[in-house]
């Protein structure tokens, strides 16, 4: 148990998406890419680390070419399992290969206002409110910074966002919006204060950090520097590739997997070379470019296949995986959102991705919707039930009750039925009412999800952050703000 957090565990379903040979070929191809074509690391510290370990570094192009054995040896040092710690320890999340946890999606830029229904620019208050709702929902295991606090200064925005989440939830926080040295240092300091000490933070990292790679075959300098700072402090650090078929990656799926893999494992290897044994994770949200608009689709069969295949790669390297699922390209909670988010979540779950990112955003991770968030939670709950599979044993075969009822009759009045009926899945938002009731009421999933979100927001009181600690965190943020000349 992880508090009341729901996860997928002990799955009874599995999928063979890549054979051992396929994985080996992808791995060899990846090493060949890193060794012959190289990966761009536009960070002075990163280039120094690579050079010190014998990789070939071109300081002008900032391209690193590393031999396969260097990458393989480095990756072996990565821990295969560890916990993401929560402010309240019973909500710690074991990333042990036998759990799938869901987070909120992150970095949205607009919010569909819960009360007016209007779309507007996101602000700090939204970050806190979304965190409060997520704190309540058992399907949400951890937070990403769901939307950006655009009413706060860019240089410290990521820190205000962290504080807002800690003030509204006891669950683990993973940020994808800290990507500069100054912010990363301050974020580590803040996490240290929350955990109690540097040592405590190392043991129970209440914060983890996710960075994007820069496909094709590149890294972002600020992100790499920030990740190195986080890894030094023992914060779990992950790199996500978003290589898209036809634009930032080859159009063919295998080639796209190889390019993304080269980006991610080269970054993870760098972290291991710098801080051997530091907790790291593989992250991916690959997709296919839309051929007509160039858009990042955030859905479709290619995404679903990537969702399952990537976990095979992460397993091969024996590190946890954070997989992009949900994150539909739909503009509102609708048919498209339902298909995208169900299929992607199912495929990433059947492969037992450790973290799924995440619930709540529409329009390719741009617009926050509380309704979508709650319906996404329902999708996860359904997938979770499916993953539990079919148990065949004496009790579930129910031979004696079958004998008792015999041909004809029904099972309604059986004690066996009452004993097991709560194993059947019940929806919160699917409409199973009679037709005429639906016709008369004229409401549906979106209305119910909206009402539930309002209820949670208006009534749920998360365990507050100690006032002294909150003041200290605010001071830390201030110091970053005053260090930056206006």
């Amino acid at each position: 148990m992880n508090g009341n957090i729901k996860s997928i565990t002990d799955p009874r379903l599995s999928l063979d998406i890549l054979s051992q040979d396929d994985v080996q070929r992808l791995h060899t191809a990846t090493l060949e890419i890193i060794e012959k074509t190289g990966v761009r690391f536009p960070s002075k510290s990163a280039l120094e680390i690579w050079e010190a370990h014998g990789a070939t570094v071109d300081h002008d192009s900032m391209i690193v070419k590393a031999p396969g054995h260097l990458i393989e040896e480095a990756l072996k040092k990565a821990p295969p399992a560890y916990d993401l710690a929560a402010r309240s320890p019973e909500q710690d999340l074991p990333l042990d290969g036998n759990h799938v946890f869901v987070g909120t999606d992150g970095c949205g830029v607009e919010v569909m206002d819960l009360y007016t229904g209007q779309r507007r620019r996101s602000r700090l208050q939204d970050v806190g409110e979304i965190a409060r709702v997520a704190d309540y929902l058992p399907e949400v295991g951890f937070h990403w910074v769901a939307v950006s606090a655009q009413d706060y200064p860019p240089e410290s925005r990521g820190l205000h966002e962290l504080l807002a989440i800690w003030q509204n939830s006891t669950k683990h926080v993973q940020t994808e919006s800290v990507y500069s040295i100054a912010e990363a240092k301050a974020a580590v300091e803040m996490a240290t204060a929350v955990a109690g000490s540097r040592e405590a933070l190392r043991k129970r990292p209440v914060l983890s950090i996710m960075q994007c790679t820069a496909p094709p075959l590149g890294q972002d300098g600020g992100s790499i520097d920030a990740a190195l700072i986080a890894a030094e402090a023992g914060l779990p650090t992950g790199f996500m590739t978003m290589a898209s078929c036809a634009s930032t990656g080859p159009v063919t799926l295998a080639g796209n997997l190889a390019v993304g893999n080269a980006e991610v494992i080269s970054a993870l290897a760098l972290i291991q070379l710098a801080y051997p044994g530091a907790p790291v994770f593989y992250a991916a949200a690959q997709t296919a470019m839309d051929l007509r608009t160039g858009a990042y689709t955030g859905g479709g069969p290619e995404d679903f296949l990537f969702g399952a295949a990537t976990n095979v790669l992460a397993d091969f390297y024996n590190v946890p995986l954070s997989m992009g699922s949900f994150a539909t390209g739909a503009k509102e909670p609708n048919w498209q959102a339902g298909i995208d988010n169900s299929m992607s979540t199912f495929m990433a779950s059947i492969a037992m991705s450790d973290m799924l990112l995440g619930v709540g955003l529409l329009h390719g991770s741009r617009i926050w919707s509380y309704e979508q968030m709650l319906m996404d939670c329902e999708i996860f709950d359904m997938v979770r039930q499916v993953m539990a599979g079919i148990v065949v044993d004496e009790a579930s075969l129910a031979l004696d009750v079958i004998g008792k009822v015999g041909p004809g009759g029904n099972f309604l009045a059986q004690k066996h039925t009452r004993r097991h009926m709560r194993q059947l899945w019940l929806p919160k938002y699917m409409d199973r009412r009679p037709y005429n009731v639906w016709e008369e009421q004229g409401d549906g999933a979106r209305d119910w999800a909206n009402a539930e979100a309002r209820r949670i927001l208006e009534t749920h009181q998360p365990e507050p952050l100690d006032a002294g600690l909150a003041a200290e965190l605010k001071r830390m943020i201030k110091s970053v703000e005053t260090a930056v000349p206006a």
């Binding site: 970095c107 830029v109 607009e110 620019r121 996101s122 950006s148 655009q150 860019p154 925005r157 820069a214 590149g218 972002d220 600020g222 898209s244 036809a246 634009s247 930032t248 159009v251 470019m289 051929l291 007509r292 608009t293 160039g294 741009r366």
Partner: protein, 215 residues
Amino acid sequence: MNETLFEAMKQSIIDGEAEDAERLANQAVAEGVDPLEAINKGFVLGLDDVGEQFGCGEMFLPDLVLAAEAMKTAVAILEPELAKKGTAREILGTVVMGTVEGDIHDIGKTLVATMLSASGFKVYDLGVNVAIGAFAEKAREVGADIVGVSSLLTTTMVRQRFVIEALDDMGLRPQVKVMVGGAPVTRDWVAEIGADGYSEDAIGAVAVAKRLVGK
């Protein structure tokens, strides 16, 4: 007499074969074909055809980008010939564009740049992570009609305003128009920073750019 050559030129663009386009452009130069005719009666027709096929969903973005690349190759060979004759290809306007400092999102900006150049604009693509001052300096250097600033991050979107201020400081406004775009950019933001236009996609960006240069 040049009809077959023009037809081959058109086809090279439709096929998106830069090497063919290059060979045919060189052939035109060697045979003394009027370079402006080669462009307007040959290559451009190919681009029009691709545009039409894209419009009705028969061709896709990669077709468009390949065609634009082939076109660029041909024009690069023919332009010096035009200059020798003291003429120039008619262009709709000159655009300087890039993704702003601190931001490495590339694809959207590149698509917009490609579509603009395929539509007859002269485009200087400064790449990603472009310093504020570099937009204004380049605009002055090449006499730009439009400066295009792409930002995909809320943290870098604020710098679109700084680009406008830099253009102001150099006395280039309001003659030089500013067009912005990217995931977080909304109509309200455009009004707030006093930009002249924005678009949510590359096709729309062409229409906006045309409007800004009065075409």
